[in-house]
């Protein structure tokens, strides 16, 4: 039995920034050999994105890059030079899968597109993932995940009401698309096992992200209804939202509460030691219609108590509640701790820092971030010497010519 699920799977990874590297991280953390090729012509912008070790920028100091590239090997090749492209091509016979995430013309211009690579390895599986797909008038759209979250509708459904737009944090769609690309690649591997046939996968991050908006899109096409921002209002729960609790250490604290039906409503009141004879709160439907008043009422019950205390009381009564956690809280959270979510890995330049583990656990072949992300060119010698059988002299020469750097 193999220790990791994907032992023996080989990936040549030309991807950069978010979706591509997060996709190959799933493979790498599960035992696949993933070699990231970083090009001097297009250095990964995440390498210089915060946070940095000790808040000081540097090409090998970004936790942003480090988090997305665990368990991979890293080599450098200038794909802008013919010799760099030649070396990349020499690695293709080794690869079950090639992944890239540039704007569509880049790989074509380098002669590293699917047609060229499958001439080298006919059963190759290749994933190209970019903002809006390989074809169509906007294929060359320059963007990044935050803009994609706006373009694919998620910004618009984030706000307190009409005219308000308070986006989710970060490049939201970068955390939707990789699950789709990963499933497509794993299914393609299985198809190749059964049939011997490889294939090319064109994934538009726009199209993948929209799977998380499907009910609203179907509704619009059918009825013309446009889903908009509406704070925390719900058609199913009232109360439903975040309620201010007692401040702690000078910081504001909140608790999320969701109550459906009369039984939970009564349980909530009892747990909070409160009563209500307000007619507006008499039935579930009335509570939903008077969500604003109920938010005020519940807020008055939570304001003087800590989020932790309230969570314990409410959950003991079977009411859905949890502290609204900040980025310090998530590192001290008992549930994430019990799951073994955080991993402190030793990075060559950054030393120890916290890494997210996988969001699932497997019983027989559990994956895990196996090692911290490579510093730039970390595995050059091993890969060029062992895999491509280059001599020390040849490697030296290529370094002199800045093909390897």
């Amino acid at each position: 039995m193999s220790r990791f699920a994907l032992e023996g799977v080989h990936i040549l990874d030309f991807a950069w920034v978010g979706v591509g590297p997060v996709t190959t991280k799933y493979f790498a953390d599960n035992g696949a050999d993933v070699i990231r090729i970083e090009s001097a012509a297009r250095p990964d912008v995440l390498r210089i994105a915060p946070p940095w070790k000790d808040a000081m920028p540097g090409i090998n100091r970004s936790q942003f890059f480090a988090s997305f590239n665990t368990s991979k090997k890293g080599i450098t090749l200038d794909l802008g030079k013919p010799k760099g492209r030649e070396l990349a091509k020499r690695m293709v016979p080794w690869a079950d899968i090639v992944v890239e995430s540039f704007t569509p013309k880049a790989m074509r211009n380098w002669g590293l597109d699917y047609e060229n690579l499958r001439a080298i390895r006919p059963d190759l599986i290749m994933l190209s993932t970019c903002m809006q797909g390989q074809t169509g008038p906007n294929a060359l759209y320059p963007g990044f995940g935050q803009l994609m979250a706006a373009l694919s509708g998620f910004y618009y459904i984030s706000g307190y009401g009409p005219g308000s737009c308070t986006p989710p944090y970060g490049a939201y769609t970068d955390f939707i698309a990789p699950r789709f690309s990963t499933c497509a690649l794993l299914a393609a591997l299985d198809y190749r096992r059964r049939t011997g046939q490889g294939q090319y996968i064109d994934m538009s991050q726009y199209e993948a992200a929209m799977q998380n908006l499907a009910p609203a899109l179907i509704d619009y096409f059918a009825s013309g209804r446009v889903l908009g921002p509406r704070g925390n209002a719900s058609e199913r729960y009232a109360p439903h939202g975040a309620y201010r609790c007692a401040d702690e250490d000078g910081n504001e604290r909140w608790i999320a509460i969701a109550v459906a039906g009369d039984e939970q409503w009564r349980a909530m009141l009892t747990a909070l030691g409160a009563q209500s004879s307000d007619r507006r709160f008499a039935t579930a439907q009335a509570r939903i219609e008077n969500a604003g008043s109920i938010d005020e009422f519940v807020g008055s019950l939570t304001r003087a108590r800590t989020a932790q205390e309230l969570t314990a009381k409410l959950q003991a009564a079977g009411v859905a509640a949890y502290p609204v956690e900040n980025c310090v809280d998530i590192h001290q959270d008992d549930n994430l701790e019990a799951f073994g979510f955080w991993h402190w890995l030793e990075h060559k330049e950054m030393g120890p820092s916290p890494y997210e583990g996988l969001e699932h656990r497997m019983s027989r072949t559990p994956g895990t971030p196996r090692w911290a992300a490579p510093i730039l060119g970390q595995d050059n010698d091993e890969v060029f010497r062992e895999m491509l059988s280059l001599s020390a002299g040849e490697i030296e020469q290529l370094k002199k010519e800045n093909v390897i750097f």
Binding site: P50, P51, P167, A184, A256, A320, Y322, H360, R364
Partner: protein
């Protein structure tokens, strides 16, 4: 036609809204997905909003969207027969995904250990709000709870106002996607050595993963963000991410450096052609302008950013989302409309890629338009073009065809309320 990609594999779907997307993805990939629900229908059949506000299972938009391509059978797990039927289905399945409260299925003989004894190949995923061992393993759940527990809610909203969830709850979708990934990861070794395994998906962790680069901030920079409204960056170096325009909002970001500097420059040039912005903006070297989003900004930097953001805001107010987006594409400026579903439906790119899929719904007497496949695959096109099943629509087909039940037996089970 179902995709050839996972043809011949079967997934048993025992999830509610914590995991319905998982089965949808498997159906898109060509697996046979059998949704097992109680005779009155699963709770996902009653999630508002409803199409045309008609509150029944056929019009439930969540169900329409996320049960498409699946088959549905009913089984009453409160009865011995109902449980035996699910066990028999699991014995003939490759994958199972469930999101019952922890331990519920174990207690009725449908946990992993019991099912794997009869079918060691089975890969069994349990979707849980907080994992299976921590103090919150039995906690009551709603989607907003995961959003809060995973740290995304704390960051969403305006200062001085409550933290926010999106209008379309997302945590269950992340968890469903993660379950699909995990099942497919476990599929690879199973096809080599014939052995399945148990998977536990953690919804809280799924939302933490969406925090991108923010989780490590407290350790590396000694600070962390609170709600920042329309701004990104840190309290000391924030940039506006959303601007108002004539008919809504657009998103863009000014920054320097190789990647962003040329976009900033192109935006300023465009503004200049229309009499917006000032001379210093046009002459400044944006490529080598250093302040990153989290770096200290000088007072001069702050003033320049404020002035530029003001000018951009005034300029954007003269145009519509679509005009701005078209120019952004032409001039290669990092920007996007804050698109509504109406904008997305009208988008030329999606039309050119033939993205939208017509799915006939005889149950509604009409054809609905769905988001198309999540990827284009050359050898095995994916995507399900069949409507969500009615509750128990495939009970006969599956129980007779797959389990070999005689019609009399089905009638008896039906009469006893087991199916």
């Amino acid at each position: 036609m179902p995709s050839e990609l996972l043809k011949g594999f079967r997934l048993l779907d025992l999830t509610d809204e914590k995991g319905a997307l998982c089965g949808k993805m498997f159906a898109d990939l060509g697996a046979e997905v059998i949704k097992v629900e109680p005779p009155e229908g699963c709770s996902t059949r009653r999630i508002p909003p409803y199409l045309e506000d008609i509150a029944d299972a056929d019009h439930c938009l969540y169900s329409i969207a996320y049960h498409a391509g699946k088959k549905s059978v009913t089984a009453n797990l409160a009865t011995e027969d109902g449980r035996a039927i699910v066990a028999a289905l699991a014995a003939k399945s490759d994958f199972l995904v469930e999101s019952y409260p922890l331990g519920d299925l174990d207690s009725i003989g449908l946990g992993y250990d019991a099912l794997a004894k009869k079918n060691p190949r089975l890969i069994y995923a349990s979707i849980t709000p907080f994992g299976d061992t921590g103090p919150g393993k039995d906690y009551a759940w709603a989607d907003i709870i995961s959003w809060a527990a995973g740290g995304q809610m704390y960051l969403m909203g305006d200062e001085g106002k409550p933290p926010l969830q999106m209008s379309l709850p997302q945590a269950g979708l992340h968890a469903g996607g993660e379950a699909a990934v995990a099942l497919m990861l476990a599929h690879y070794p199973r096809q080599i050595d014939g052995l399945g395994q148990r998977i536990v998906v953690n919804m809280q962790a799924c939302i933490v993963w969406t925090l991108m680069n923010e989780q490590a901030m407290p350790f590396l920079h000694g600070s962390y963000l609170s709600r920042t409204g329309v701004f990104v960056g840190s309290a000391d170096a924030r940039r506006k991410m959303v601007y108002r325009c004539k008919d809504g909002q657009i998103s863009t970001l000014i920054a320097g450096g190789m990647t962003f500097g040329s976009s900033t420059k192109a935006l300023i040039e465009w503004m200049g052609e229309n009499g917006f912005g000032s001379e210093w903006m046009r002459t400044k070297d944006w490529i080598s302008w250093v302040p990153g989003l989290f770096m200290d900004m000088t007072e001069e930097d702050h003033k320049q950013v404020d002035d530029l953001e003001d000018a951009i805001q005034r300029f954007m107010l003269t145009m519509t989302k679509q005009d701005i987006y078209a120019q952004g594409l032409k001039r290669r400026i990092f920007l996007a409309p804050v698109a509504t579903v109406a904008d997305i439906a009208a988008d030329e790119q999606l039309k050119a890629r033939d993205f939208w899929t017509a799915v006939p719904h005889d149950t509604l007497g009409r054809t609905l338009t769905f988001p198309g496949p999540f990827a284009k695959m050359t050898a095995t096109p994916i995507g399900s073009a069949t409507r969500a099943p009615r509750i128990g629509e495939h009970s006969d087909e599956i129980y007779r065809g797959l389990l070999g039940f005689a019609p009399e037996r089905l009638n008896k089970l039906r009469a006893a309320g087991s199916i």
